[in-house]
């Protein structure tokens, strides 16, 4: 029964296919013949190859495929002579046929609102209304480059914006747009790149993430909301297309984690379009069952011939250069399903060579093929196409001279929807060989034809002299011309080859006097392809090792947690006991278990003693790990979301960069915990990330999960945009007066918002159905959390007036300022701060970098401390972050704080500010074993870190560091040699470049790249 209905459907389809709406100019030209390809090696699907097979197509579809199948009478038959047939490749991530994205020139002037006309979203980077099917228009020239390289189809979309609308399946063949458009809506596309939008918001990656989340919430709300207020075509489109697969262009592999979190929040899965470094965390991604689209744009080697140039190339780039071809193989070994895209290649011609490289690197051939055919169809739920060559499916395939996996393979023809496009003549006659040439019966020459089949090189020998000849072959027509020995004139010969084996050529020649004579050539020897020693033979691929992280000072394995006992140290407990001399500290399972002199393990463990490492620390000082309350290290793409005056919705937690070398550098200075703060570009900034500096792990593993939420506020010159240039005078507020009102307005809003939710949530389920849920607002959520004492404020602040102001705002609105950071005039209002209950986290001695720090004094910490404010010193600076012990010493120097209290400025006190003093900040039984072993008095400039321990794991060890340095040097040298060999082997190289991560400070605003101290 099923068979019959299918049969009827097919019939119906045929009838429709013959019809169309377009009028025909002239007579119709129906063609219902079959086209037959015989003697072919047909790869029906990646797993099924038939030798000596026949493929029959008709009206653009496969009629049948197999061995010895009957050939219909009305057939055009091609004998492929053993050539190979594969399903056309499908590029799942292309912008073919899309209009060029208009580029608006960069301007320093703010753009607060969207400039897109129409009833679309408030934010220009949200372009969910884009519809590739509507935008699509064929481009023959670009199509050719795809077809030539094996691609018959592409899933295309406009690569612009964070929401990019829907992608459509199109074919690269000729005909019309109407014929080329195959499936209108395949997936909805997203990215972490705002594209052509010049609207200020979002200016950072975390802003992009927040906007993506908020837009999903908005779309949900829009479904149910009363639409009197606005019609939003963009959100309508988000809702209409919500059932489609979702693809996101993530950029680097860390953003896969980021995208995955968003998807989970909204109960879907993203297909991740990566950038080729996914091998670094393949096991993680397999666990998360992530499906990917990956590019094959392997980086070129650097030209490291000049060692002065070479020193500027980082190890991480060299290591990636080595490993990039292995990406697909490693993903496959981890069981990750992926497809390939030609996107990102400098030239489309690099696609097949790089694809073959991926195979050479260990990717099974059938997987490599599936990643361009069946996987694409499966992953994106294509309607009509499944990536295989089988009865009933569209006739999309190409013919190649050899298995497409082989370097020598030449693509002859691409057939898309049954339309042929020829690139190389597959019936080309191989005329190469040695011939005896006779002209006019009396002139004898020896003709030698060499070169490639389609690029012939000929020479003619007459007597003793040999001259180059011009030889052209078109079908079986020969054109030959050369200079004869007897005259200086050029002999011109035209003729044809008499049979396919090219034994005999005959034709007419015209002599220089105009006389026509006969000529002929007889082959005396076949061409022998003396395989020239290929000087550009690529070296065999060899894999390197992946380090965690994959850069200098990473390692093949991350350090492991150990139980240990640190013996005979001078222990700065930060507890009532003060400083204990000759004391032991026992660490088990990441916690401090015992602190005391001469601990006897056999008494502590009378029965079975766990494995405990002894660390002799005689003469050394042991302190709690240093805690940096104010740091901007380890952040990807922007420390400030400066696009709005309130960006409470963004979170540094979304953009932690675990590969920042400054993590390791901070460890070398004894830092174990950092609060990664949003910058100070706006009165209400973004949420913080609280991390432990577990170098080599992922952002999630660094995150302190028990930590409460924190958020950055800011006051003064930065939020007023005072030092950002004269064009930045539009965004409210521009004065300290406006700052106060901004806070009031936002907190009133937050209260009303919180009340609305409370009211809604108090309804029973029946009433809830009748009511409309309030719009979820991520920005106000964060403020409500503050009001509920679930989120803690760190406020960037300088002068006393504004500090005082904010405490008044807080008191009257019913919240608290947890910490004033920078707080350089804290000494002027320390009594008020104490009363409010705020902490003070300041610089030891910074000042004079802007007007508002004119009254900043190095005694600030000492005064606040003496008045009774819990005081800390922070870095706000990757360099100073690794010397915070020295900064603490300045509290002794300026104002005479006791040494014990001074050390607390960078340990216990910041722990309190982070609401983590129950876990960290002192050496006490039960607390996390975050410890630093110093070679000398920890406040002395002569103290160096011997070990930095986080939860019982030694993340920095001076001896291991020496080994790592050696390892960095050796690995660099190995890769330099490899790059030199690659260059010698003919590989393309590029001039050395140095790359570094921007160092962020409070007022680095990402979008414009301003840097003000």
């Amino acid at each position: 029964m099923r068979f019959i209905s299918l049969f009827i459907l097919l019939l119906v389809a045929e009838v429709f296919q013959a019809q169309g709406t377009f009028p025909v100019n002239g007579n119709r030209n129906p063609n219902n013949n079959s086209i037959v390809f015989k003697n072919a090696t047909i790869t029906k699907s990646p797993d099924e190859v038939i030798n000596n097979g026949t493929l029959i197509i008709k009206n653009g579809r496969v009629e049948s495929v197999g061995v010895n199948i009957p050939i219909p009478l009305s057939s055009v038959v091609y004998d492929l002579n053993g050539a190979y047939i594969y399903h056309s490749f499908i590029d799942p991530f292309s912008s073919y046929g899309m209009p060029e994205v208009p580029k608006s020139p960069w301007s320093s002037n703010p753009q607060i609102a969207s400039k897109k006309e129409g009833a679309y979203n408030w934010n220009e980077a949200v372009k969910a209304e884009l519809n590739a099917a509507e935008l699509f228009s064929r481009n023959q020239k670009v199509a050719e480059t795809f077809l030539k390289n094996g691609f018959g189809l592409g899933i295309v979309h406009q690569k612009d914006g964070i929401f990019r609308g829907t992608a459509a399946l199109v074919s690269f063949d000729g005909g019309s747009d109407n014929e080329a458009l195959k499936q209108r809506e395949v997936y909805t596309a997203y990215s972490f790149d705002k594209g052509s939008s010049r609207q200020d918001y979002p200016s950072s990656l975390m802003g992009i993430i927040a906007l993506m989340r908020q837009t999903h919430y908005d779309a949900e709300w829009y479904k149910t909301a009363n639409r009197n207020k606005e019609v939003n075509l963009t959100l309508e489109r988000v809702n209409q297309t919500s059932a489609l697969p979702k693809l996101i262009d993530v950029g680097d592999y860390l953003s896969i984690y980021r995208a995955d979190k968003i998807a989970r929040e909204f109960g879907f899965q993203f297909i991740m379009k990566g950038n080729g470094d996914e091998y670094l965390r393949a096991a993680d991604f397999a666990k998360k069952e992530i499906q990917m689209v990956i590019p094959l744009n392997f980086p070129n080697a650097y030209d490291v011939t000049d060692p002065y140039d070479a020193i500027n190339v980082s190890l991480s780039e060299m290591k990636h250069w080595e490993m990039a071809p292995f990406n697909a193989a490693i993903l496959d070994q981890n069981g990750i399903s992926f497809t390939f895209t030609a996107d990102g290649l400098e030239k489309p011609d690099q696609f097949l060579p790089n694809w073959r490289k991926a195979i050479e690197a260990g990717l099974p051939k059938e997987k490599a093929l599936a990643a361009l055919t069946t996987n694409v169809a499966k992953l994106f739920l294509l309607n009509d196409i499944d990536g295989t060559i089988q009865k009933g499916k569209p006739a999309n395939f190409f013919i190649s001279s050899a298995p497409i996996y082989d370097k020598e393979a030449v693509i002859y023809e691409q057939w898309v929807n049954g339309n042929q496009r020829v690139f190389k003549n597959r019936s080309i006659i191989d005329v190469r060989g040695e011939y005896n040439l006779n002209v006019n019966g009396n002139q004898q020459f020896e003709l030698s034809v060499k070169g490639a089949v389609d690029k012939l090189e000929a020479s003619v020998k007459g007597g003793d002299s040999t001259t180059k000849a011009t030889l052209e072959l078109k079908g079986n027509q020969i054109t030959l011309s050369f200079k004869s020995k007897s005259s200086k004139d050029i002999l011109r010969l035209s003729g044809h080859i008499s049979e396919a084996k090219s034994r005999i050529w005959t034709g007419n020649a015209q002599l220089s006097n105009g006389e026509w004579v006969k000529w002929g050539a007889i082959k005396k020897a076949d061409f022998v392809d003396k395989k020239k020693k290929d000087s550009t033979q690529a070296l065999p691929l060899t894999k390197g090792s992946i380090w965690f992280p994959n850069m200098a000072f990473g390692d093949t394995a991350i350090p492991q947690q150990r139980s240990m006992i640190i013996r005979n140290a001078t222990v700065w407990t930060n507890e009532d006991k003060g400083i204990l001399k000759e004391t032991d500290v026992l660490v088990v399972d990441g916690k401090i278990v015992h602190v005391g002199p001469k601990l006897d393990l056999s008494i502590i463990y009378p029965r079975r003693m766990p494995e405990i490492i002894e660390v002799e620390a005689k003469g050394m000082h042991l302190t709690p790990g240093i805690i940096d309350e104010h740091s901007h290290i380890a952040i990807s793409r922007g420390v400030n979301e400066s696009g709005q005056a309130n960006s409470a919705e963004v979170s540094i937690g979304n953009v932690v960069n675990s590969n920042d070398i400054n993590i390791y550098r901070q460890l070398s200075g004894g830092v174990t915990t950092s609060q990664l703060l949003h910058g100070s570009a706006n009165p209400i900034g973004g949420q913080s990330a609280l991390i432990k500096l577990k170098w080599g792990t992922t952002p999630d593993e660094m995150n302190i999960d028990s930590a409460k939420g924190h958020i950055k506020f800011a006051l003064g010159e930065n939020v007023k945009q005072s030092n950002w240039g004269d064009s930045k005078t539009e965004r409210f507020p521009q004065t300290r007066m406006g700052v106060e009102q901004k806070f009031y307005d936002d907190f009133f809003r937050a209260k009303e918002y919180g009340d609305n939710w409370k009211l809604y949530n108090s309804k029973n389920s029946r009433d809830k159905k009748l009511a409309t849920a309030p719009r979820r607002d991520l920005e106000l959520d964060a403020l409500v959390e503050i009001l509920n004492e679930e989120r803690f404020i760190t406020c960037h602040s300088y002068v006393q007036s504004e500090i005082n102001m904010l405490m008044h705002v807080a008191d009257s609105m019913g919240f608290k300022i947890n910490t004033f950071t920078h707080i350089l005039e804290g000494y002027k209002v320390a009594d008020k701060m104490k009363e409010h209950g705020a902490y003070g986290s300041t610089f030891s001695d910074w000042w004079a970098y802007k007007f508002e720090v004119n009254d900043a004094i190095p005694y600030n910490g000492a005064i606040m401390h003496k008045v009774g404010v819990t005081t800390g010193f922070n870095s706000d600076d990757a360099e100073m972050g690794r010397r915070l012990n020295q900064e603490a010493a300045k509290a002794v120097k300026y104002g005479g704080v006791s040494e014990i209290e001074a050390l607390k400025f960078v340990t216990l006190n910041p722990a309190k500010m982070l609401q983590l003093d129950h876990r960290i900040g002192s050496i006490k039984e039960g607390k996390d074993a975050d410890l630093v072993l110093w070679t000398a008095h920890p406040l002395s400039i002569y103290a160096r870190v011997n070990k930095t321990i986080i939860e019982g794991t030694v993340y920095y060890d001076v001896e291991r560091d020496a080994l790592l340095r050696k390892q960095v040097g050796e690995e660099r040298e190995r890769l330099v040699q490899k790059m030199l060999a690659a260059k010698k082997g003919g590989a393309k190289t590029k001039r050395p470049e140095k790359r570094e991560k921007e160092l962020y400070e409070c007022d680095t605003t990402e979008d414009e790249g301003y840097e003000n101290n």
Binding site: S314, Y827, W846, Y849, E879, R944
Partner: protein
Amino acid sequence: MLNAQEKSTLIIGTTAHIGNGEVIRDAAIGFRNGKIDLVTAIDYRLDTTKYEVIIRLNGQHSYPGFISPNNVLGLVEIDAVRATRDANEVGNITPQVRSLVAYNTDSKIIPTVRSNGVLIVQSTPQGGRISGTSSIFNLDGWNWEDAVLKMDDAIHINWPSVYNRKWENGTITYKENKEFENQVNELVTFFKNAEAYTKSDFILETNLRFEAMRPVFTGDKKVFIHANNAKELSSAIYFIREQKVKSPVLVGAYDALLVADLLVDYKIPVVLRRVHELPLREDDAVDLPYQLPALLAEKGVKFCLQNDGSMQAMGTRNLPFYAGTAAAHGLDREEALKSISLHAAQILGIDQQVGSLEPGKRATLFVSEGDALDMRTNQLSAAFVSGKMIDLGSHQRDLYERYMKKYGLEPN
């Protein structure tokens, strides 16, 4: 003289760190008329009656006033306020602009700097290819004429960079600067033209740029070349040789180790990049900037320290601690001291007057309660510039005392 030392003074009981590597425990340091006339270990021969003022600071440490080269102190007051910035003049080649006349003796930053032991600064223009001409000042004086220690001591060249900086999404890429050769050539051409001009016996039109170069060719004005990358350093050294630059100094010189042999052979000293900086390259040892002084000393390169970088004027007060960090990372402590005293004086060409506690030199010195290279113990009890005791107070100290009073607390 408004700045003259009035009374002869003798400091006794301190550990004298001479600045040339020597240390004298329980020393006596005498000075009169602005000059040191006695540095000795105390013994029975000491005649204290020769001095009008005797200062006993038993157990404390004396040092020559520290010297901060290549600094905008006095030229920039508040980094972010344009009206207070006088370090960077318009134009690419401007050797004729002089820090001398813009130097503000009343900068509020200066008192905060000298109270940590830094008593001399080379106030230096910035920016462009040739930024201008620096002068060296005592950090005490009524006006620039009065404060200047060495007038118009050097021109400052920012060597062309082999890389161009490009920012994209938080990543900074340094791509090859294709104009590098041309930019070097421009300098060569300028030097050649300036030299030709100075040789002329008849000058048709006065060229202030060329005029500013006259003392360069006679060796009376030093040439400070600012460069960090190995290629830039090696190209700058070649320039120094080719142009026969008489008193060259390299500034920054992060990659100095790679060209150390050349620096030693050609006796080119280095004003080393700020010690408290991050390594320039991700792959470099995490403490390379801390170690560079020790590594350069080992190679025999003459160097001194500086604090060029962000917030440099106010950061000058931390110069002693850069030397401390160098000492913590392998450099002998007295060698480290040299790098901010005698060696700095030699490199700046003021070692006849200052840089060490030696008779005949100016009495520009200070006494600290403890080791002045360690912030834990750097606590000045007295400081002198050319024999005159200076006030260790500052705007900051005033605020401290005022607000301690507000809270009923005793200032330290």
